[in-house]
Symmetry: C2
Subunit: 735 residues, 2 copies
């Protein structure tokens, strides 16, 4: 069991900086008649494991054969949704013959790290039966502390069989309690175990040791069932807000709920101002770094169902603004404002290296430009911040640093932009767009659109503050000494070039010169590979001189700025780029899925939806880029699955004047139901083939406008609105 921590990072030597793994408070080792059991090495007769979506609880049952005896080991565990630092485990052992069983359970500090070990000065201790292990990180000397308590459960045979007093031992980096029992045939011996993890990042108000001991002692007092009930209730509340129900398609339902479960599990604890790394907390891969994945793929789910979590994601960016400023200055020359990190850790400095991919052919590190040229990241952050205000109507975040972030992002872009005198337009040169196989391109449509939007948002922020918070605006402009630059932002919002659809074909050129590249299929390039993990981009990769793209790029733009492009343009671009896309990123399929729903390609949309939603269930993704391992979970794809269901098939679009719903369900979906939070009020939306029902929560404060297939309806607190329609004849009834 790896316990990868959120928001605490460490670097050892010259290796990559990465998140720290805590000592394993869930450690348990069972021996039977002197033989240690191992699911990997012992004679395992059966093994079953279950993840309960409803309450994020993991169960496992393994049957071992040892010396002619059959031993059954069961465990269930969860990380408490009610008590953030707490992990709860119940495990049991039973044998068909009498046997001597030794259980060694406690905390294991022998942690495997990609680039570790990260903890030193490891110290073990025990106080009043609570085991403690702590260590400090190399780089910043941050303390990581784990407390644990475990005991036989009340009930059948639990105590009687224990042959010795529990003994506490410290051995080889482990603090363990050793329990010996004589198991009687057919009886089950159950134990409960509680552990808590705290770090110096946790502002507990009391000493860490005290907080950790209290956490496990309180949990023990509540007992396993007590803890589980609280956990279950917390999850029930989450699901009430966030669940999406699909009638008629169990496969899609299962995959989508799995995706939502993942997102809810890794959502930052409220008040932490943490964000979600690209591989979530599934390990140390990708340096535990936060990418644009969060704002563009995960954030919409939270924004529309669970804005408290969206707030944390945004606060993380506000909190790391200084790192983004440092990065702009460092990447220069002449860059100003905020250039957010491509791979962001706790300070906002960039964890991405200039040589980020190993070449398996030469063994050399390849120069990539993810770090210095993938400039759309700043705009992605600005758009997410502004979108929060648009959707929630709440400008608190803007006032608490969001406006500053936006102005600094616009400032960065102005310092990055060039003006083309003979064409009377600003251009954004030398970037990488979403498609990372084509580095250092000019006028990437996606990037330019994001940059122009950032300037427009900066202007809108200033206008909003002028109206609502003039004094704060004045103070902010003075603090940033930016008043003189505002006319530049206005000019750039007006004159920044965004590649337009071709007049004849409607297709948008991904970047200057893309049309000139040669066509190539994935199969053709694969046939030329010298090494199976060879990277297709980075200057001389096989895809670089071709039209083959790694992931949705123009199509991602059509997705992000969906209301600005006609269905015809979407269709033209979808059909042009789809056969030219490798989907070498987990961010790609959902973009194609969503746009496909808008241009009548429902079968393709459904295919891409399943690909996105099942990515971690099926494990069909690249696990190596060059020499770099990139396996783990894919929370952006999880977010993409939700977006495809709700924005795509549901046709939900939240706009200034109301909420648009354009259902376009796959043929086998009888009904789609999802929760929506909008401007502090909540709804359940149910879509069927010929009707849409909107149910407003009793507690809602306002009536809201909806446009169902273009028909405007209003829905007040506690009301349900049903819009029924024959194919082209919607009729509206209120209940």
């Amino acid at each position: 069991m790896g316990v990868t921590l959120a928001g605490i990072y460490d670097q050892v030597g010259d290796a990559w900086r990465e998140p720290v793994n805590a000592p394993n408070g869930g450690y348990t080792q069972v021996s039977v008649d002197g033989v240690a059991l191992s699911a990997l090495e012992s004679d395992v007769r059966s093994h079953r494991q279950t993840l309960h979506f409803r309450e994020a609880r993991f169960e496992r049952e393994t049957v071992f054969a040892v010396n002619g005896k059959t031993l059954t080991l069961k465990s269930e565990r969860f990380l408490s949704a009610r008590t953030p630092h707490l992990g709860v485990i119940r495990f049991s052992v039973g044998c068909d013959h009498a046997a001597d069983v030794v259980i060694r359970t406690g905390i294991d500090a022998n942690i495997w790290d990609l680039n570790g070990p990260h903890l030193r000065e490891i110290a073990g201790d025990s106080r009043d039966g609570v085991l403690l292990v702590q260590g400090v990180t190399h780089e910043q000397r941050k303390r990581v502390l784990v407390a644990e308590v475990a005991a036989p459960a009340a009930g059948e045979g639990a105590d009687g069989a224990v042959r010795s007093e529990e003994e506490i031992v410290q051995e080889g980096g482990r603090m363990l309690r050793v329990v010996m029992l004589r198991a009687e045939p057919g009886k089950t011996y159950t134990f409960e175990k509680y552990f808590a993890v705290f770090t110096d990042n946790d502002r507990t108000g009391v000493p860490l040791v005290k907080a950790a001991i209290e956490t496990v002692q309180e949990a023990r007092a509540a007992g396993y069932e007590g803890c589980r009930r609280a956990h279950h209730d917390a999850w029930a509340a989450r699901w009430r807000r966030c669940d999406v129900k699909i009638d008629g398609d169990d496969e899609a339902q299962h995959a989508l709920r799995y995706s939502i479960l993942q997102l809810l599990m890794v959502a930052p604890v409220e008040g932490s101002a943490n964000s979600i790394p690209a591989r979530a907390l599934s390990g140390q891969v990708y340096k535990g770094a936060v990418f644009w994945d969060t704002e563009m793929f995960m954030y919409p789910f939270f924004l529309h169902t669970y804005p408290e979590k969206a707030v944390e994601l945004l606060r993380y960016r506000i909190r790391t603004l200084e790192g983004a400023r440092r990065k702009a200055r460092m990447e220069g020359p002449g860059y100003r404002g905020a250039f957010y990190a491509w791979e962001s850790q706790e300070t906002g400095d960039d964890a991405c290296s200039y040589f980020n991919i190993g070449d398996p052919i030469t063994g050399r590190e390849l120069r990539t430009h993810f770090r210095d040229k993938q400039v759309h990241i700043s705009g992605d952050v600005a758009i997410a911040l502004w979108r929060y205000f648009e959707v929630t109507g709440d400008d608190t975040l803007l006032r608490e640093g969001g406006a500053e972030v936006i102005l600094e992002c616009a400032r960065f872009y102005y310092s990055y932009a060039h003006f083309k005198q003979d064409r009377g337009r600003y251009e954004i040169l030398d970037v990488i767009g979403p498609d990372e196989y084509h580095e250092r391109v000019n006028n990437n449509a996606f990037t330019n659109a994001v940059v122009r939007e950032t300037f427009a948002i900066a202007n809108a922020v200033v206008a909003h503050f002028e109206r609502k918070h003039p004094a704060e605006l004045k103070a902010l402009l003075e603090k940033l000494a930016i008043a003189d630059e505002l006319p530049c932002f206005a000019d750039a919002a007006e004159r920044l070039y965004v590649p337009a659809p071709d007049e004849k074909t409607g297709v948008i050129e991904q970047f200057d010169g893309y049309w000139k590249l040669r066509d190539a299929t994935v199969e053709e390039l694969k046939a030329k590979m010298v090494h199976p993990n060879e990277y297709l981009g980075a200057g001389q990769g096989l895809a670089v001189p071709t039209k083959l793209i790694k992931q949705a790029d123009v199509v991602m733009m059509l997705n992000l700025f969906g209301s600005r492009y006609s269905a015809d343009v979407k269709k033209a671009n979808w059909h042009y780029y789809e056969p030219r896309t490798e989907h070498g990123s987990s961010l790609s399929a959902c973009a194609y899925a969503i746009v496909a729903t808008e241009c009548g390609e429902l079968d393709a949309a459904y295919r891409y939806f399943l690909k996105t939603a099942k990515i971690d269930l099926e494990g069909k993704y690249k696990i190596y880029v060059g020499t770099t391992f990139i396996g783990g979970t894919h929370p952006a794809a999880n977010g993409g699955a939700w977006m495809t269901a709700v924005f795509g098939f549901g046709g939900l679009r939240v706009e200034e004047d109301g909420i648009r719903i354009e259902p376009r369900l796959p043929e086998n979906w009888r009904r789609l139901e999802f929760g929506l939070e909008h401007r502090g009020d909540r709804f359940r939306i149910r879509l069927a083939r010929e009707a849409v029902e909107i149910a407003a929560a009793e507690e809602n404060r306002n009536e809201h406008a909806f446009f169902v297939r273009g028909e405007k309806v209003r829905c007040a607190a506690g009301k349900r609105v049903l819009v029924e329609f024959a194919i082209d004849d919607p009729s509206v009834r209120s209940k």
Copy 2:
């Protein structure tokens, strides 16, 4: 013997377009007692070959042992400097025993080509004893025709020994005359042979066959000695103008004269409007293409000693303007004007491919940006054109297309440039400077300086025409529809950014971000090589992330714009960049040599001078870049040797108000003497350690101003001026 033609190119299939080799009119095969002789395969007892610099005549003597007999074969040959199409050969054979000798001499159409064969429809013929072979190129069906005539020389034993009438045979792509003779011991049998090569490019006024036959028949009538005398006289006239004498250093003298000989041999025939390829006519390497090498390294020699040849080089660029316009349109988007080809052939279209270097590690073609990003080439052309006017005072070339070229080059640069609003300056982005190991850089100092100069020259051209040829200017501006753009050029000449010397160190950053690269030595990179020929540049080459540069770049700029930078700045940059330069190009050493003379580094200057001047004598240069063979002669280095002698050690600088001379001779040079042509008048300049003598030709039309070590003197026709100086006390006397 390869006869690589100037100005005629062909492409076969998908292989590189390259110059055409003519059928070999010098073909001779000698057999003794039925055994064919070969310098490569026979038993060669001695072999001696001599190149006579004075008249560009090649001599060879080979002694063979065959069946116990010793046979001596001598030949001498030259390409007539008087009669452009004519080759003249005299060969003789002698044996120490009686022997049956068969001589097969004629024209061989079995030509080895890099990417051929280029001639098809090969046809042989003979008329009145003249052999003829012709063929047509694949691509453009251009005819290439060779005529030959050969006969025993008058004199001892020549005729008597001939046992049979000469027989003309056609066999396997050869037209041959077969001569059998019974050689008597100790006698020498001499033959004379004349061949002529014509192509459809030659505007002879008569049918090609007639022209060719007449050429060889006239030569035969004049006889070997007659032809040689004419050739010799033509060369004597060349040397009178162009020779550089070095007293006290035979090694330098020899290498420098060899360099000048090479330049004079490959100089375009007057009226041809041809230029000189990077490997001259030594073969088909580098596609027989003309690079910036010509304008920046070879042209100054001709401009200052033999302007008629300089005219041809410039006319070549005027003639290929349309190709440069096509290239601008093609490379787009939005490029206008003239973007000269990086590798230019007869049409001015670019022979450089986007994948110009093979990677020996993967066997793939590497994407290089020589073609699309090495934009300084247009400015190099514009500077050369304007320089011609500055030095000669003759604006004919400007009026005959030169002004149009310059305006179109400025127009191209304006369409390429971007304006940085927040810095109030134009920038030139995404280029390759002279240092090709760093592709796609921004604000390369050399390139930006060349571009700014081009705008300034465009403005100066307009001003000159306004004053002198207003009607022509009006017509030109109308033809180009460019009048509206002139204020843009003026603005760009004013506000284009050229990186300045660092205020503290005086060093100029080669391009944006160069300072951030890591330092590396050539040795360090070589130790990392996986393949000995692997290319160090092109995106992922070993030099790319380092400060190691291929060749002079900033130092080349200091050389080109020498009068704009102080000696201190030159010194600082020379010392900074010199240890960071691989000299992986033959263009590098001379730039370091010249600047070294200006900053007191005479020993280093001398070392680099010898390296440049001896490059083809020693053969110490790369012959492979990646998988591409790049061997051949190095006329740019030859030009660089002349520049180092005259501009460097001689300190010659031709400026608006007069000719500056600042001698700084290497210690072992007692005297340096060179010819100079200036504004149509000629001089011999003699520099000694403590005196400078300027001798004006009798025919000169004007008196000219000279500044010798800052002291102004004037020199009228037929006069000699001697400026003597003690170390710091020059005194001036006129004779």
